[in-house]
């Protein structure tokens, strides 16, 4: 029913954002379209709805839906198509709700039958109450999960034949993410809706599709049944992508060597928070842990659980209310300015926002050379040679030294911040969500680098991330934080394999895994296209 043939979309400079994309989707298909940033996946998603972003134009090919050419429809017909046949759910679906519109109206506006009764049916269809009182509510009076459901109900109100999902789970916490995916799966199955699931997240795609299309730089490089594509990819790029995805299942067969040596970092009874007086918010409350040389300890917790505050206390950028940070058995002054150069050298922080932490007016080379000269006392020539070495260590060519941060991609910038931290010859690296904005292959590169350094240089690593896959791949031990308190700690195997704390268990259960996904799977439809 949907047939895309040789679709080419180009920008004003003539570069192809989509390059001769050909795709056939039959009614009832569940197709996952995966690609990294810049692969053209959002352009493809909106092009299906006849919407091409300003600055882009359709340069060739056709999209037909039930025989009609979507790209040449008039405004009225296009609206009818969007209203009756397609539904679109974008990133963080709850943001699609207009805050000034009541729940009932949100549905009635798009429903084929806008009566309160039919609206109630739509609401009940996604597990929301359909009663009058609920229909009179505003979006902000619903919980986060209810908002996601309402957005889904809104998308389904027009009884669409095709649901286009464009990264609907990106930016959601894993528990809400699981809820949204389950809800979509059930609705689609009940109504026989065709799903086009566009995402960068291979695991989420695996959760919701029977067929996988891999998009790279605007081209389809692979198109086949899900299980076969994941287990035996035909294109090397797909293989690379699959291998790069950190899977929580990696934790299950990992054993952590016991470390006898004295801990490099010791955090004792750390209490820290923000604000003062009545507005005081304690984000970490009596946190204690140790990290040995060569060991990687992950801090796991929902946003607001105090992970970053702990990291900043360790690096001396946040003043704790009480408690101590010891490095090599030595109590560190709470403020980084009161630490000696050698104390500063030992602990280096790689912050989450690489763009914000690099001075836009300094070249990459200058950013890396500074700690070399200040903390290691190198002269200019030596610092230059070392900068080149560090750049190549993080996989960047020497010419990058002359560039400014804005001329770099997100992944390159993140590597620069790592190189800058390494320039200090640290003994402890504190990594705060360093890969959360990176594509999966770039993430794999950065993670491999940190793991490698940890092994060869005996570097201790404190890893902060919300991604359990990353923890499973990288960490030796895990600290699970809940509302500023250590809920449980142990080896990765213990914590992710058999969580004892309720919240950790819920989290682990919500995290999708390629491996378990494939193992539990009985294909709904045998192979397509």
């Amino acid at each position: 029913m949907i047939s895309i043939s040789d679709l080419t979309v180009a920008d004003t400079a003539g570069r192809a954002v989509l390059d001769q994309v050909t795709l056939r989707v039959e009614p009832g298909d569940r197709v996952g379209i995966v690609g990294e940033s810049g692969s053209g996946k959002t352009t493809l998603a909106t092009a299906l709805l006849g919407a091409i972003r300003p600055g882009l134009r359709a340069a060739g090919g056709t999209i037909t839906f039930d025989g009609r050419d979507v790209l040449s429809l008039g405004e009225r017909e296009l609206r009818a198509l969007r209203r009756d046949s397609f539904a679109y759910l974008g990133q963080d679906p709850a943001t699609a709700l207009t805050p000034t519109m009541r729940v009932g109206r949100q549905i009635a506006e798009l429903a084929t039958d806008p009566s309160p009764k039919s609206v109630a049916r739509h609401l009940e269809g996604v597990g929301l109450p359909g009663d009058r009182v609920f229909q009179r509510r505003f979006p902000h009076q619903l919980s986060g999960g209810q908002q996601q459901r309402l957005a889904l109900a809104r998308a389904m109100a027009g009884e669409p034949a095709v649901l286009i999902l464009d990264e609907p789970t990106t930016g959601l916490d894993v528990i809400t993410q699981a809820l949204v995916l389950t809800q979509i799966e059930e609705l689609a199955a009940a109504r026989g809706i065709t799903l086009l699931f566009i995402t960068h997240d291979l695991i989420a795609a695996a959760r919701l599709s029977d067929r996988l299309v891999v998009l790279r730089s605007g081209r389809v490089v692979e198109d086949g049944p899900l299980a076969a594509t994941l287990t035996a990819p035909k294109h090397p790029y797909t293989a690379e992508l699959v291998a790069a995805v950190p899977d929580i299942a990696e934790a299950f067969d990992k054993d952590t060597p016991a470390r006898a040596s004295a801990p490099l970092l010791e955090v004792r009874d750390l209490v820290a928070g923000h604000g003062r007086g009545r507005r005081k918010l304690t984000t970490s409350d009596g946190v204690s842990f140790q990290v040995a040389r060569g060991e990687c300890v992950a801090l796991l917790g929902a946003s607001g659980s105090g992970k970053t505050t702990i990291a900043r206390c360790v690096s001396g950028h946040h003043r704790p209310d009480s408690g101590q940070v010891l490095v090599d058995g030595e109590v560190m002054p709470v403020n980084v300015r009161d630490r000696t150069l050698d104390q500063r050298r030992k602990v280096q922080l790689v912050p989450q926002d690489s763009a914000g932490s690099l001075n836009p007016r300094r070249t990459v080379g200058a950013a890396i050379a500074r700690p070399l000269r200040v903390l290691q006392g190198m002269d200019k020539a030596a610092a230059e040679t070392e900068t080149t070495r560090l750049l190549s260590l993080v996989g960047l060519p020497a010419e990058m030294a002359a560039r400014y941060p804005r001329q770099l991609s997100g992944g390159q910038r993140q590597r620069v911040t790592i190189a800058r931290a390494l320039a200090a010859k640290p003994e402890l690296l504190v990594c705060d969500e360093i890969t959360s904005s990176l594509d999966v292959r770039v993430q794999a590169g950065v993670l491999d680098l940190v793991a490698e350094l940890s092994r060869t240089e005996d570097l201790a690593v404190v890893l902060i991330t919300h991604d359990l896959g990353v923890i499973a791949r990288m960490a030796d031990r895990v600290l699970s934080l809940r509302a500023g308190v250590v809920a449980e700690q142990g080896t990765v195997h213990e914590v992710l394999g058999a969580p004892r704390h309720e919240w950790t268990a819920e989290l682990v259960a919500a995290v999708p895994s390629l491996r378990t996904e494939l193992a539990n799977r009985t294909p709904r439809k045998a192979g397509a296209a």
Partner: protein, 317 residues
């Protein structure tokens, strides 16, 4: 309940601001060299004579005492007595204030209508021909001083075409409202400047709302464009637009001072100029307090409008 608390807090804050303004206003006009006593006696007065008049006017008492007396009376509607005219300030100010308010109000209404229309037209299609045209026009209108705009309007409509009067002659005992044609040019001069400025603000507000995920989603859901704008886009713009227009109120009052002088319009600016010339501090303080009250009042109104259109603030959580 929460909304009521919000309103009360906002009103309380406004009263506090007005009080702070009154302190600055009072202190500011009292520390200026020379006072009503020396001004009314002229330069030949002896020190004894000045002291006598000062005592008579109560000017020899401490500043704090006089402030408390003044603000205490002001709260009850008594703004003191003009030194120059020996009449209550409230009485002297009432008619010019009404005339200025008429001018400002008409200009504000015209500005809101024009700037909203232009801002919407430009903001819904940023980068389009109409947007670029309006951007250019607004830049020109904002860059030209108001008195030049007024002069050009007079040149065209009174000198060349002879359609409208160049000065606002009001018959003795009459009000500008009796001769509406004298209002047109002053209002137009004020509006051109203010609308140009406000349309840029509205444009930015509209662009912001137009790229919000809910508006984009409404379009992709196939709703007609008019419905998308009316139900999904406009509600998000009302609060910020009310704020923008409230700030405009103070700019408009500033603008009227110049425009009234140019057109010889009977308004507050005449009263103020006289008061400054003759060190008539009670009048200055009274007018200052009234203007501050009007401006702070319009900001409060804007906040209340913001409250009304935001269900999150309006409803209890």
């Amino acid at each position: 309940m929460r909304a009521l608390v919000f309103v009360l807090r906002r009103l309380l804050a406004a009263a506090g601001t007005l009080l702070a303004v009154s302190v600055v206003l009072f202190a500011g006009s009292e520390v200026l060299p020379g006072d009503a006593a020396s001004a009314s006696l002229g330069i030949n007065a002896t020190a004894e004579q000045t002291a006598l008049v000062r005592a008579e006017l109560g000017l020899d008492r401490p500043l704090a005492v006089r402030y408390l007396e003044w603000i205490g009376n002001a709260v009850q509607g008594d703004l003191g007595v003009s030194v120059l005219e020996r009449a209550p300030v409230a009485e002297i100010v009432a008619i010019p204030l009404a005339d200025t308010a008429l001018l400002t109000l008409l200009a504000a209404l015209a500005t809101i209508v024009i700037a909203t229309a232009l801002g919407l037209a430009a903001g819904l299609r940023p980068g389009s021909r109409i947007d670029r045209l309006l951007s250019g026009g607004a830049l020109v209108a904002v860059s030209i001083p108001q008195f030049v705009i007024a002069g050009l309007l007079v040149l065209l409509f009174s000198s060349v075409l002879g359609w409208l009067p160049a000065v606002s002659l009001v018959p003795a005992g009459g009000a500008p409202i009796d001769r509406p044609e004298i209002l047109i040019l002053p209002v137009a001069s004020l509006t051109i400047f203010a609308a140009a400025w406000a349309s840029r603000l509205i444009r930015a507000i509209v662009i912001d709302a137009n790229t919000a995920p809910n508006v984009e989603a409404a379009r992709l859901a196939g709703l007609p464009e008019r419905q998308v704008i009316r139900r999904h886009l406009i509600p998000a713009t009302i609060g910020p637009a009310a704020q923008a227009y409230a700030w405009l109120a103070s700019a408009l009052f500033g603008g009227t001072a110049v425009i009234e002088q140019i057109f010889n319009y009977p308004g507050l600016s005449e009263t103020l100029v006289n008061a400054v010339r003759h060190h008539d501090t009670p009048v200055l303080e009274g007018v200052g307090l009234l203007l501050a009250g009007i401006i702070i009042g319009s900001l409060v109104i804007a906040d209340l409008i913001g409250l009304l259109v935001n269900p999150k603030l309006r409803t209890a959580a």
